[in-house]
Amino acid sequence: MAELAAVIASTHHPFYYRASTATGADRPPFADEWVAKIEAFRETLTRAEPDVLVMVGSDHFHQLWLDNMPQFLVGKAPFFDANFHNEEREFGLPKMTLRGEEDLAAHLLRDGLDRDFDLAFSNELRIDHSITCPIITLRPQADLPIVPVYTNIFAPPLPQPKRFVQLGRAIREMVESWESDKRVAVIGTGHLSLELGGPRQFGEHGPDPEFDRKAVEWIASGDIEGCLAEVSLESLHHPGNATHGFMDFMLMMGVAGEGAKADHVDTLDLFHTMEAYFTWYPNGVPSSSGVSA
């Protein structure tokens, strides 16, 4: 069976690519610290020596639109082109092409349906920055095949938070029951408190630092029960109008498991939003050579 080599949860900040590559007067003052944190985070994936990446993210009204909106969708294709005109325009993101792992995608679809997750699928999916940002931060060589898993955190009505946790638990079981000798990392990105297009956007910090503090604690300690007790579709409006993206972190907590303490935790308080990075090693922390200790 496949081995779950690492579970990684991250924010996906579309400004990282431009900030990290800018030079001279264009380079923002926080860029060096940000790059250092990302490089340490990247090392946590490199050490796991993955062969395949399951990438959990959310389309931002790029390919998926309100005339036909899936709640959860698996991409099954040999390749995925990436990034859209408006991401190039606003964030300077590059065009990319990633390979797909169709055998694992087929397994997630079949097994997921049989576990009562009515997963949609796409055989021609152009992926956006929710998936390419973590490729850029964690695997910039973009050399590993992926299985994209999209969630709807964006276009209400949304699934309940507990459903994200349940899907995360199922993804873990499904990865671990995949008949393969591959090492799989599951990487998911979301948000802490975030406001986009509302009065609290682009402040000195994220719109709700207290929510961010609690959220980091829930994730780092694997406190799924505590998180589910406080978080609802209604409550997520209060920290900021785009905070439903936190449910992708909850999905990743489901992958990591109840009570699973993260092996790597880091944050960066940027203007506008707090960055947060978490890595779990379900089978023990790998040594620098990649062999499980």
Partner: protein
């Protein structure tokens, strides 16, 4: 009122660079043309298979024609779509992050709960 149609306008104009420029230069003319020619196009269907019933109301038409992002927010247009398009329209006229901050400040009188964006 159709939040869906507002969103469809913002979505289709944002993703097409020529339309984005046209909306910047001639907002009222673009809204009139779009409602006549594009509003009832199903994006995944051939042109002949048009929708028969989508139209803006007067206030929606006015808000779009006047680039009134505050009114769009209050009508429940999706804030991500509005923000993304309006950054494309107007960021170029301002210093770094200046437009984004002004955009938020223009809405500072709006309190929770925000308008429902469900379509």
């Amino acid at each position: 009122m159709s939040k869906y149609l507002l969103d469809k306008f913002l979505y289709t104009v944002d993703r097409d660079p020529e339309l984005t420029e046209r909306y910047r230069e001639d907002p009222a003319g673009t809204v009139t043309w779009w409602e006549a020619e594009m509003a009832n196009t199903v994006l995944n269907c051939i042109p002949a298979e048009k929708t028969t019933w989508l139209a803006f109301d007067d206030e929606e038409r006015r808000a779009l024609a006047e680039h009134d992002h505050v009114a769009l927010f209050q009508m429940g247009a999706h804030p991500f779509l509005t923000l993304t398009l309006f950054i494309a329209l107007f960021e170029r006229d301002h210093g770094p992050m200046e437009y984004q901050r002004a955009y938020g400040k223009a809405m500072e009188h709006i309190s929770m709960p925000y308008p429902d964006i469900a379509t």
